[in-house]
Amino acid sequence: MDRQGVAAVQPPSLLRAILLAVLVGPLLAVVSGPVLAHASALRGSTTTVSVPTWLFLSTGGGAVGASFLLASFVTDRSFIRSIHDWGMRLPAPGRVLTTVARVVGVAGLGVTVAVGYLGPADGYRNLAVLLVWVVWWGGYVASTYLVGNSWPALNPFRTLASLGPSLNYPYPDRLGSWPSVAGLLGLIWLEVISPLADDPRLLATTVVAYAGVSIAGSAVLGTEVWFSRVDPISTAFRLFGRVAPVARTADGLTLRLPGTALSDGTVLAGRDEIAFVVALLYATTFDGFVATGLWRDAATAIVGLGVPPLAVYFLSYLAGFGLFIGAFWWSMAVARRFGNTYITRTALAERFAPSLLAIAAGYHVAHYLAFVVGLLPAVATVAAAPFAPPSQLPVLTTLPGWVSGLELALVLLGHFVAVWVAHAAGYQLLPGRLEAIKSQYGITVVMICYTMISLWIVSTPSVTPPFLGGGGV
């Protein structure tokens, strides 16, 4: 790889790019300003929207579009590369720390199962429910993309599975990571249609079943193969970890700018992993969509025609996933055409899809930040007496206004990182600078649509999903 050729004829475009960014930066700040001012609409179903929904949605879409336009001013390859190559080495965690993490993981699993079966039967008074949905799925998952992926050390299923012997049966390579895609879609499906979030007994049974499947699978295929190819949770955390600044490498820990590891070119391999990323993004959307009035009305109408409710849910679930895959695949056709390249769509998708992980991380924060902060006092209270928690739990119902502002800022930040990662991917793949910009047309349109759909979901009053009898976080 040689950069001299570029440097030789490069006008001081780095300077020009910085100058332009400084000049037009405030534009973006103003474009995104109204959204921040309006953040209260995110907070709950009862707040009235002070600006019309269409304006709220198009402001979000406009902010994403503006960030694409802004990024298009940065065309200096060596500058883009220098941002992505910046990093430093950190001392590796010692064996003691790893062992402590393993013990904590297994202890957490033990407490979850024991309290899930033996503790109080109602949802938020049971420590198992709080541990899984608040501490783990809300708080811990955030640490995988904000700090780094520590799941390989903490993962209690892996620790337990590695204790037993393994047949090391050869894994059929043609399956790739498709089992993890199916597993992820299955888990989300279960979470949406069952009262997994309210019923501690069901939750404990699910956790035990998950542990059983993991241990059996590892016994057949080997721990390494199971947790890298089949296990959906490990795959999700590994991918979220690529958004984070800290990464575990062969010789210790490395620190990089958040999101820059997404453009490494080693994040995804093959259509299976691309589909996994899209499924990860789709998960939040479907989970939120079934709690909208639009879905309630549509589902009620279709069920009224005599279709079984569960079939309506299942077919819509698959159709929505197909739509997401289709939209992303279309954007890669656009990248191939406007990028003027013969690189295959799959190869393009391997480099562009990681940008979506930053968006998924941003929306995860938006969904869970206030939820986790609000329930932390309840977690502490219940943890003090898991088998006899008080009937009234302390919950922070009124959080300061800046919390929802922070949520929205993180959603936007996720989008900016995503736009930038797609920009860098274009520049790594394509020799023409203009082609590198044009190759992002499709994915920018997809990101704008996704933002508007997601903002619509979070700003729409949420209702109980029909026909399910409660459930869902």
């Binding site: 790889m1 040689d2 001299q4 050729g5 570029v6 030789a8 004829v9 006008p11 037009v24 534009l27 973006l28 103003v30 474009v31 109204p34 600006v51 019309p52 304006l55 402001t59 406009g62 579009g65 503006a66 336009l69 802004l70 298009s72 001013f73 065309t75 390859r77 003027n340 390249t341 013969y342 690189i343 295959t344 799959t346 190869a347 393009l348 391997e350 480099r351 793949l429 394509l430 020799p431 023409g432 600078r433 203009l434 082609e435 910009i437």
Partner: protein
């Protein structure tokens, strides 16, 4: 600076391509990447293999690079226009709604 080993890495590193019948293709002599037309081909040579090029090839790359810079300037004007339109468009709409 570019050794044979470097070229080998590039060769195995380049992303897979697919060409349909009737496409005009040029293959990079250094890394075997298929590229569509003259401009993309010349830019690729200059960006990835500058040290290995002859003077004539370098000159062709610089020419393509300059031509691209002109196109890029035109794009930037449109992009800046787009930003201004977005900014004042939203400003206007919000001002109208606030009134």
């Amino acid at each position: 600076m570019n050794t044979a080993a470097d070229t080998d890495t590039t060769e195995s590193d380049h992303p897979p391509t697919s060409i349909s019948a009737g496409d005009a293709t040029e293959e990079c002599p250094y890394c075997a990447l298929d590229l569509p037309d003259g401009t993309q081909y010349r830019l690729h040579l200059g960006v990835e293999h500058y040290d290995q090029l002859s003077d004539a090839e370098r000159e062709r790359f610089h020419e393509a690079y300059r031509a691209e810079a002109d196109a890029l300037d035109r794009f930037r004007i449109i992009a800046l226009g787009g930003l201004v339109l977005l900014y004042f468009g939203f400003l206007l709409v919000y001002a109208l709604l606030a009134a």
